[in-house]
Symmetry: C2
Amino acid sequence: MSEFYDALETRAVDEREQEQLTALKSQLQHAKTNAPAYAESLAAFDPADLKSLADLSRYPVTRKSELITRQAGMRPFGGLTAVPEGQLKYIFSSPGPIYEPQSMRPDYWRFARTLYAAGFRKEDLVHNCFSYHLTPAGAMAESGAHALGCAVIPAGVGQTELQVQTIHDLKATAYIGTPSFLKIILEKAEELGVDISCLNKALVSGEAFPPSTRAFLLERGIKAMQCYGTADLGLIAYESSGDSGLIVDEGVYLEIVRPGTGDVLPDGEVGEIVITTFNPDYPLIRFATGDLSAVMEAQSPCGRTNKCIKGWMGRADQTAKVRGMFIHPEQVDKVIKRHPEIQKARLVIEWLDESDQMTLHCETAEVSEALKQAVEVSLRDLCKIRGGVVLVQPGSLANDGVVISDQRVYT
Amino acid sequence: MSEFYDALETRAVDEREQEQLTALKSQLQHAKTNAPAYAESLAAFDPADLKSLADLSRYPVTRKSELITRQAGMRPFGGLTAVPEGQLKYIFSSPGPIYEPQSMRPDYWRFARTLYAAGFRKEDLVHNCFSYHLTPAGAMAESGAHALGCAVIPAGVGQTELQVQTIHDLKATAYIGTPSFLKIILEKAEELGVDISCLNKALVSGEAFPPSTRAFLLERGIKAMQCYGTADLGLIAYESSGDSGLIVDEGVYLEIVRPGTGDVLPDGEVGEIVITTFNPDYPLIRFATGDLSAVMEAQSPCGRTNKCIKGWMGRADQTAKVRGMFIHPEQVDKVIKRHPEIQKARLVIEWLDESDQMTLHCETAEVSEALKQAVEVSLRDLCKIRGGVVLVQPGSLANDGVVISDQRVYT
């Protein structure tokens, strides 16, 4: 049996680029034609003009944070879907509320690929500890397992002793869920003296997967791989070996942008994950996830040729309230754009002398008092609040995707 | 659109009998050939000998209470299934533990029929409040809804405010779950002032559905029908109009037996529901559910021609512990069988003079001191405990399926 789920994973890089360019043009046209919200927002764009994948950066971004108001304005999906409601299998409800569709399409969330890379095969009996209630997590994982032909125990969360007994009795071989709950199950089994060494593989997600937990699982014979995905998009990136980042899924096109903008960052820079999905039913275009990551320079040594990302590195949504006013990363970006001399900036907010103070740290090769004063004016204009400006040499600011750094400590 | 799910529901009674006889012979042979436990227990039976449905009463009963030990002896399903494990979609875990399979077969649990009778159609958006975790209840209901083409909100239990908001936002039209939880959701919506009048139909199950709750729902524009099923068998019987009992599902053959025996009772008598399913994957033969009901004399006025039962009337499992010894309904039955003069009996257990006392009340047309003394001897022999005997005229004992009546009150 192949170690790859399909031939897409090992395509030559330029072959993938060509095929994704074709798919992207067709997906953009499909979204314009069949999703009312995109008919409007993409009215001025002709997908036929797309000459390269990079040209996508001219298209507008759809922010996850917008979904709440878009959906409230047009139930259930804000006009962003292109599937008749009569062809839906599920509608899920996430905090916000944000509602997510799942159509009848098999492996709708594309989780079969990450499960295959984690070693899941038809013979595995899968113990799925993601919740099935309101959230799509349980269904996301199990539709992938069913696509591989696995039987699933829909275990959900809680009831740890019952989980242990069920795994033991049924000889489940594979776990899906958060890494911390798997650790809890294993510790409970040890406490009860129940043998669940039948478990030998796992797909974990939904939270950080620290090396200490990975080692804890390996000591107990469980090889665990993680993946990253969202309730809107399904799978975005997945592990194949556990030490070379997460490989981007073949069903999406990924960009890393400066948080609060649509501006693509060079590989290596930490920024917000923006995804264009090839899912025809819910064709999200340049969907800003609110999550931070960075593209890695090297390909995975496993033979899969798609780009790798570092995995989840925090939230990009850095909106802060300063002296009663909201400051959004978009406003900081406008300040930068007004001064082409600035390459990168970070707004630091502190609590000093019993009040909020903010300072914009700007990387520039042209340090001058004139520029400093000009930026101070722009900052006040665009953020409605007075703040200090510090000019620093390029490369001085941390590469962590943080545009607004809230460092207030109230003592 | 037809008011019936399919033509099976309105078959002439003798047509159903002929078709079920053919199906039954084939199912018995299938179980013998492909389910190891039935290869053994049915070794002495030739299904070709079956001349009428009534002949099934000669076959051995498989008790729900046996499943725990059968499954522990041969994981996962005690040799009672006839589907390769590689073709399973789910394995569920119920208290016991008892494990239940669901194969890839669409509408495996046959819930589409009861949903259709409750008015569910393709256009409905179904809010499913049965749990999806470990228990099959959620999957039982939703596989039926999906067979009808409905989209499902997999809502599960708890989180009442979120349930209210989701129903309101998505305009769910149909509820599935327990009647009491629907009442809680409606009361919460009224308390919050949220309009969920979009809900207009419901399928309820899992607990009693008292007329007061039915009226409460009707006052709020929700027409609710109930059904009866089990985690092993799926649908057993369903309502079509709310006032003529539950119609037996077309996918099963139902008998009502004296609890603890395989002896079929005449229509009208309360006894244990015993089901032979036509499901080829898990071909349970004469499966004693442990639940009590009775066959009703009249057909449903809705036009469906299958037998009607009264719905769930309690548990048949009446095992009691008397002076430290277990007494099972099977033992009471052995006493009755030893004395052909006895038509029916009930063992009454009381706490009198600071100790357990038991008395066997027997219906017989031949009341005599000799019979009374003989039955006393049998009772001591077969139950290992001395008890009194009272002989009464036929028709004196209540028609409630109770074989062991535990009336102990400790004061």
